[in-house]
């Protein structure tokens, strides 16, 4: 062991004994009216080291009192999910309400809902990265985490809805005794490849972004710092164990500039690859419907319409989860400012209107196309037995974002949170409307049935929400929830030419 020791204050800071300095929050300096001045991305004149302190504090220290009760509730729902899925597998898909002509219902609704939520992460990370939108650093890590968790929830539904889930490996081109191959001309198989590629690439992107932050956590868990100091804060996971875990995950990252150069290039390339990927995934999901001849599904507007809807629903979920997190976690407001929330509210407004345009265009084409089955399908959506689902969708997705024309509402976290909640519900209803209202009135009146969810349908969906939230709670507790290196790089202190 070397005899050089850092000065005492630095040692204490590194050991986490001092904790993040709490400052009086004097207004929100991010809401500058002057368009020629860029609002700060980090408030309260934080130093670079304070960013480390705040972000590592979440992963190292004990969370507030709010964490455990929420975690217990969400993990209870994970238990319910396990019971429901086991019951389904043991008994058969007849335990769901889709035991008639409506043979895709909540299962595929949930699948499309979750995969849509999963689009915001890669959108924020990749597309905003390519457009050099520096404000993305406040939300990209948590949005990427949401992507991973949402795609896990999404992937579960197609797998269990096939009935005999032990044959799900048939969808992969694995050489087998019968020499049977999957049908590569089927949109359902494209979907398998799209979703699994999306999951893998999102995971790589998420992990790669965390490598430097893992290195920071590794260095802070180092025993030499602790030996120099005595003891730090009490922690749930012992420092030695954390040192090994983060040390392994950081792959020996040394913060070398030669490494950073290749790292930044690789990150940019991944962003460039993920951008067409994110657009392709929901397009391919929409092909599941658009290549069928069913009225209400067989439309060419589906790919862009689905992509816009996915971005819309994904941003709503980001806001829905991060606005409460901002309230309960110390220092969060300095990194996720009202300026960030306002930017995302604007994106909700834009994508909400894209979705509204798609809804109206579907009606227009149904009339203009002169196909009576198509026209009937759309009239039935708005006025048939599922009218309530259709109008819930319209009011949540098209009307509620209109509040964001007003600056005061865009800058009010509670108002933004309520709209985000409405949009999240509305996007679930959108998928329900597309799937169920089209299927319940197919060409032959003999196939006309109503779909009613059973308790298994309902609890499985609630369970998937529980799974998503449980993963997110664990993420908030154990991982770096802001990209520290990226936040530091957009701070004024990173400017090398300011002090000439």
């Amino acid at each position: 062991m070397s005899t050089l020791n850092p000065d005492q204050v630095t040692a204490q800071r590194l050991a986490g004994a001092l904790g993040a300095v709490q400052r009086e929050n004097v207004g929100d300096g991010s809401l500058i009216e002057d368009p020629s001045v860029r609002p700060p991305l980090v408030l309260n004149d934080r130093e670079i080291g304070e960013i480390t302190e705040i972000v590592c504090g979440y992963a190292e220290g004990r969370p507030g009192r709010w964490w455990l009760p929420i975690f217990l509730v969400t993990s209870t729902f994970v238990g319910i999910l396990l019971v429901m899925v086991s019951y389904l597998i043991i008994t058969g898909v007849g335990v769901w309400g889709l035991n008639n002509q409506v043979d895709w219902a909540w299962d595929i609704t949930n699948f499309v809902f979750w995969i849509g939520i999963g689009h915001a992460g890669t959108l924020i990370s990749a597309i905003l990265c390519l457009f050099k939108q520096k404000w993305r650093t406040a939300v990209n890590r948590s949005a990427e985490a949401m992507t991973i968790f949402a795609v896990i929830c999404a992937g579960m539904f197609p797998a269990i809805h096939v009935g005999r889930v032990w044959f799900i490996w048939f969808v992969f081109p694995i050489p087998n005794y019968n020499w049977i191959w999957p049908n590569f001309k089927s949109p359902l198989l494209w979907d398998v490849f799209a979703v699994s590629t999306y999951f893998t690439v999102s995971l790589l992107f998420w992990y790669m972004g965390m490598i430097p932050d893992f290195a920071t956590l590794r260095d802070r868990a180092d025993g030499r710092m602790r030996a120099a100091l005595g003891e730090g804060r009490k922690r749930l996971v012992p420092d030695v164990l954390r040192g090994y875990i983060f040390g392994f995950l950081s792959l020996g990252w040394r913060n070398s500039s030669r490494h950073w150069h290749r790292y930044e290039m690789a990150y940019l390339l991944l962003a460039g690859l993920a951008t067409p990927l994110v657009l392709s995934v929901h397009s391919i999901v929409s092909f599941d419907f658009a290549t069928a001849i069913l009225p209400g599904w067989h439309t060419t507007i589906f790919p862009p319409y689905f992509v816009a809807g996915a971005i819309f629903g994904g941003f709503a979920m980001v806001l829905f989860l991060l606005i409460p997190a901002r309230e309960v976690m110390p220092g969060f407001k300095d990194l996720l400012t009202l300026h960030h929330i306002e930017n995302m509210a604007k994106i909700l407004l834009v994508t909400g209107m894209m979705v509204g345009f798609a809804y109206s265009m579907e009606f227009f084409i149904a009339w203009y196309g002169g196909n009576e089955y198509e026209l009937y399908a759309f009239k039935n959506r708005a006025t048939g037995p599922y009218w309530w689902a259709y109008w819930t969708m319209i009011s949540c997705n098209v009307l509620s974002p209109q509040f964001f024309w007003f600056r005061r509402l865009r800058q009010n976290p509670l108002a933004v949170w309520l709209v985000a909640l409405a949009v999240t519900c509305g996007m679930w209803f959108e998928r329900f409307v597309i799937i169920v209202t089209s299927l319940h009135r197919a060409f032959l009146p003999g196939e006309w049935h109503m779909f009613f969810p059973t308790y298994v349908d309902i609890l499985t969906f609630c369970g998937s929400c529980g799974l998503f939230l449980t993963c997110f709670m664990l993420f908030l507790r154990f991982l770096p929830i802001f990209p520290m290196a990226e936040v530091k790089a957009v701070m004024p202190q990173a400017d090398t030419h300011a002090h000439h």
Binding site: F184, T197, L204, R254, S256, L269, L273, L277, A494, D495
Partner: protein
């Protein structure tokens, strides 16, 4: 990247310098408190003709490549190669399966290529993404969980808020006296030697 980084079991090159205690010297480090100081110091090291040296910083310093004078990485070419290989493989495989296990879909000929575009694209992206991460790590000589610099206490602050320059003893221009003088000229603090492992 010295390829020997990947093979720590190979016999090490003989040490050019040793400490008073007789340990081989890995290099000399100096510390800077701001990104601007590290940036301008890097320009001095570049102009002095050092080749085996590096700037360690908690975040990528904008424009440091120019200040250090190192070349653009070959990573994009590797990623393009990985992506196109994956896409070609996926297309070839689907085409082959189309004849090996023929399924007529909507009366289209078995040789129709259009349905294969989606999976070709997805698999190309997948291979390019893996190439991107793995070749970034390979070119950086990572994963490598051991390094002489990790033995240095102050180095741990480079992942927090400090900046450090390290000149390796293997650099032809390395000289304990002159290198230390350059560190001091550029305003470095805590200039010290790093022992090799």
């Amino acid at each position: 990247m010295p390829i020997a980084d990947y093979f720590p079991f190979l016999p090490p090159a003989p040490a050019r310098f040793r400490t008073e205690a007789g340990e081989p010297v890995y290099g000399m480090t100096g510390e800077y408190t701001t990104a601007a100081d590290a940036y301008h110091a890097a320009e001095h090291f570049r102009d002095d003709g050092y080749t085996r040296w590096d700037v360690y910083s908690p975040f990528p310093i904008h424009g440091i490549e120019d200040a250090m004078g190192h070349k653009r990485t070959h990573l994009p070419k590797l990623v393009a190669a990985g992506g196109f290989t994956g896409a070609a493989l996926a297309f070839w495989f689907q085409w082959w399966v189309g004849f090996d296990y023929p399924i007529v879909v909507q009366g289209k000929p078995l040789s129709s290529w259009e349905p294969y575009v989606m999976i070709t694209f997805e698999f190309g992206i997948l291979c390019a993404a893996f190439t991107s991460l793995l070749s970034m790590l390979a070119l950086n000589g990572l994963p490598r969980w051991h390094h002489p610099l990790f033995r240095k206490d102050r180095f741990l602050k480079c992942s927090d808020d400090r900046f450090m320059i390290c000149v390796e003893a293997a650099d032809a221009k390395f000289d304990p006296g002159r290198t230390r003088a350059l560190f001091e000229k550029t305003g470095a603090s805590h200039v010290s030697l790093v022992e090799d492992e």
